[in-house]
């Protein structure tokens, strides 16, 4: 099963070792006899697609979840990790993403959160300054977290972790909120931390490029068990991809899903690869003549509840049949745009027009009526009602279609739902099952099915593949392409460069709430995009 390529020379015991760790949730085996050895002085990559068991494994290490079988060893000695505090005491530190900072609190309060004992403000502030200086992570201890940028927040997370003097740092998908430049900085800090102080780092990622660039040792998880482990220098992306998925992977859509595109591949290479898979080419209008844009967003300004500008004279057009990717680092206004197009908020100024007709944004539901379908970023929040059935979720945006003046027409609704379930391959015991019981991928299919069933002119897909496994991702890509081929204008909001490369015919970069450049896919190199994302002109 595995390809153990560790040195034959006996070394000191690993800083952290897992042997045969198994964790089940009911019938689902999340981790299956996992062996993992992390040595000091190394950055160890943990690679696997979504659902492979990486998160569960880390939760075991952090005391959030108890393992069913197996042992955890620290420097060769068995340890137990019943609580998060125990994990900290054992020298295990997690740098979380945007899940563990409390916004109204200050940096120092956040840093000292979760510790026992009295609140020692001055001590903590001093420590923050010291740690910040040592690792090149300057941050003001008295700033409020809600005022910080994403990169600064990550600094707070890192400082919070480092301050407890961990032997092993665990970073979970750290670069999703960072620009390329910030990612580089992060990896330098990690190298520093690891080399100078002989700590260890576990870097969890599903991006091959990142693993190749930043790690010394890599372990690949597939469906809960270890599929492969080796020194990073001795392997290549294709091999890793194959191990991750369990079969040969083409550079096309699957490659994109796996983050296989490196910064060096040119768009031509990607497009050529994409064309390997049938029905893959993004649609273009046959005659090449300019048509009325399906979606026109002009000068939209949205302010947050505290006055901050979230969208700053945002302007964009999407033509029928094209897939326009809106690319940028998280936190630059994408969520706001998604909410706007979902009809969840009104702009302070600006207009949105569909097929040339301005949509009255102050009327609830007007965008949907005008033909804008949305697959939202957070489907639990605004896309579905978890406690309603699959049937209900499939018909909820277009009740008029399945009802008379007052009463719903049950039969019609069930017919429609059955058709959609089959068409979109939604796997569910019955259409009356509560949506809560479906897997993430299937819930996403329900949303897509419903929005497309409304025959929209525009489909907005915000991070549509977040949290899905490769199979579901491929399916989503195929459907997006199919929709574009039918003439729907697809606006793909994404933070994954690979997705942009694989799907889009044009890419717009969003930075600080405005569009910082629109490129044809042929002109879009990773470099140019990187600069635009960082706020500079390219």
């Amino acid at each position: 099963m595995t390809d153990d390529q560790t040195d034959s020379v006996p070394r000191e015991a690993p800083a952290l070792e897992l042997r045969g760790v198994t964790k089940c949730f009911g019938p689902v085996v999340a981790c299956d006899a996992v062996d993992l050895a992390v040595r000091s002085g190394e950055i160890h990559g943990l690679l696997g697609e979504n659902g492979a068991g990486k998160s569960t494994l880390m939760k075991v290490l952090l005391g959030l979840v108890q393992r069913d079988e197996g042992t955890v060893l620290r420097h060769g000695e068995r340890v137990e990790i019943p609580t998060p505090q125990a994990a900290v005491a054992l020298g295990l530190g997690m740098v979380h993403q945007h899940f563990s900072l409390i916004e109204p609190l200050t940096v120092w309060e956040n840093v000292s959160l979760g510790e026992p004992g009295r609140v020692k403000r001055d001590e903590v502030c001093d420590q923050i300054k010291t740690v910040g200086e040592r690792y090149g992570l300057p941050i003001s201890p008295t700033a409020r977290v809600e005022d910080l940028s994403a990169g600064e927040r990550q600094r707070v997370e890192i400082i919070k972790c480092l301050r407890r003097d961990p032997e092993v740092l665990i970073l979970d998908e750290p670069t999703s909120v960072l620009t390329m430049a910030e990612s580089q900085e992060l990896f330098e800090v990690l190298r520093d931390v690891v080399a100078k102080e002989n700590r260890a780092v576990i870097l969890i990622s599903h991006k091959l490029a990142e693993i190749m660039a930043a790690t010394d040792q890599v372990t690949v998880l597939r469906k809960g068990s270890v599929a492969f482990r080796c020194r990073t220098s001795t392997t290549n992306p294709r091999e890793l991809a194959k191990q991750m998925v369990g079969r040969e992977v083409s550079l096309g859509t699957e490659g994109a899903a796996l983050g296989l595109i490196s910064e060096d591949s040119t768009p031509e290479e990607v497009q050529a690869a994409a064309e390997e898979t049938p029905a893959a080419a993004p649609a273009t209008t046959p005659t090449g003549e300019p048509t009325t844009p399906a979606l026109t967003i002009e000068d939209v300004v949205v302010k947050g509840p505290d006055g901050r500008t979230l969208l700053d004279k945002f302007a964009l057009t999407v033509s029928p049949g094209e897939i326009l990717a809106l690319y940028g680092v998280e936190g630059n206004g994408q969520a706001t745009l998604g909410d706007l197009l979902s009809g969840l908020l009104e702009p302070a100024s600006g207009t949105v027009a569909v097929n040339g007709a301005t949509v009255p944004l102050n009327k609830v539901g007007s965008l949907h009526k005008a033909g804008v379908g949305v697959v939202p970023e957070d489907r639990h929040r605004s896309g579905v009602v978890l406690d309603m059935s699959v049937l209900d979720n499939l018909v909820m945006t277009d009740l008029g279609r399945v009802s008379g003046r007052f009463l719903l027409k049950r039969r019609e609704a069930r017919k429609l739902a059955a058709r959609l379930i089959e068409q979109f391959n939604i796997s569910t015991p019955s259409m009356d099952t509560p949506l809560r019981n479906l897997s993430g991928g299937n819930q996403q299919r329900v949303v897509l099915a419903r929005e497309l069933a409304g025959d929209p002119s525009v489909l907005v897909a915000a991070q549509p593949t977040h949290g899905l496994d490769v199979g579901a991702i491929e399916d989503m890509y195929a459907r997006l392409r199919a929709a574009a081929a039918r003439g729907v204008a697809v606006l793909l909001i994404t933070t994954e460069l690979e997705e942009v490369m694989a799907l889009a015919s044009r890419v717009a970069v969003i930075s600080s709430g405005r569009v910082n450049g629109v490129l044809d896919i042929h002109e879009a190199t990773a470099e140019r995009l990187g600069m635009l994302v960082g706020g500079e002109a390219a």
Partner: protein
């Protein structure tokens, strides 16, 4: 004719009527800063009132009664905490049912019992007590001075202590706090215990320091006024207490005006504090400072 004597009386009366509110308000303030909203404050106060009178009568000591009242409030808080933040029943439903249960129980028990009247001792600070207008501040039943200690204690607990930091964290973002290792629901239950303790104390004060006995439903909606006060105070202790003072003052006026010769409609006077609370909420209810996770249940892993 309103002379200093009348004003002094009104001030004294205001303070006395504010005190039960203030006790409970400190409790509910902390609870809401922790992200829990409990309409069972009414039940906590009523239970506290009854408990204090019952125990004071049986033991002969009003002070013991006071303590007992606080404990009854604590028990109500314990039940609410476990039903809402362990068993995960909607907190409004729990509050409603607890209020009904406490009302029913106390009404039932008072109908079958005979209690002696017991009041806690009054403490006068000589000299100061005679100053006009503010004199009454120094001539109060002793639990009032306890209140004056509880106020800064509550503030310190919320803003400066480790516990308060944790409470404020779970009030804003329970998921994040959970990941950091804080036990969200346990902290919420603890906050409810504090709320129960102080609200029970407030009710006990009403019964043993103010009135001296228990009447059916004697809290008459004060628990809800307290909640309105927290909202009015924009979730800051100072504002909350000012709110309590305003409502206490309105209550005092209601009692004083007829004596002063103003013939105002009695229903209007009774309605005045409630009306004022409504107006206060309309004018001052700003959601900016409202704890983000206020009233929302927390279950790990399900967003």
């Amino acid at each position: 004719m309103i002379g200093t004597e009348e004003i002094t009386t009104i001030v004294a009366s205001s303070l006395r009527l504010t005190a039960p509110l203030a006790f409970a308000a400190c409790g509910e303030y902390l609870a809401e800063r922790a992200g829990t909203q409990n309409i069972s404050v009414e039940g906590m106060m009523l239970g506290g009132a009854f408990g204090s009178v019952a125990v004071a009568s049986t033991t002969g000591s009003a002070t013991t009664g006071l303590l007992a009242g606080a404990i009854v409030g604590l028990v109500v808080g314990f039940i609410h905490g476990n039903l809402s933040h362990r068993v995960q029943i909607n907190t409004f439903v729990v509050g409603l049912v607890l209020n009904a249960l406490v009302l029913g129980l106390t009404s039932f028990l008072i109908a079958v019992s005979e209690f002696d009247s017991n009041q806690v001792a009054q403490v006068n600070i000589p000299g100061l007590a005679d100053i006009p207008i503010i004199g009454p501040l120094f001539s109060q039943r002793w639990p009032m001075y306890l209140l004056l200690l509880l106020i800064p204690l509550t503030w310190w607990l919320v803003e400066r202590s480790r516990w308060g930091l944790n409470l404020r964290a779970i009030a804003d973002n329970p998921q994040a706090a959970d990941v950091t290792g804080l036990k969200v629901n346990k902290l919420r239950r603890q906050a409810l215990l504090y709320c129960g303790l102080l609200s029970g104390l407030g009710g006990a004060y009403l019964a043993t320091a103010e009135v001296g006995s228990f009447n059916m439903n004697m809290t008459a909606g004060r628990g809800f006024i307290v909640i309105a006060a927290v909202i009015f105070g924009a979730w800051r202790l100072k504002g909350t207490l000012i709110g309590c003072l305003v409502f206490g003052f309105a209550d005092a006026l209601r009692l004083a005006l007829p004596a002063l010769g103003f013939e105002l409609n009695s229903q209007l006077l009774v309605a005045a504090p409630y009306l004022m609370a409504l107006l206060a909420m309309m004018l001052f209810a700003s959601s900016n400072r409202e704890p983000r996770a206020l009233g929302k249940p927390f279950v790990r892993g399900i967003t």
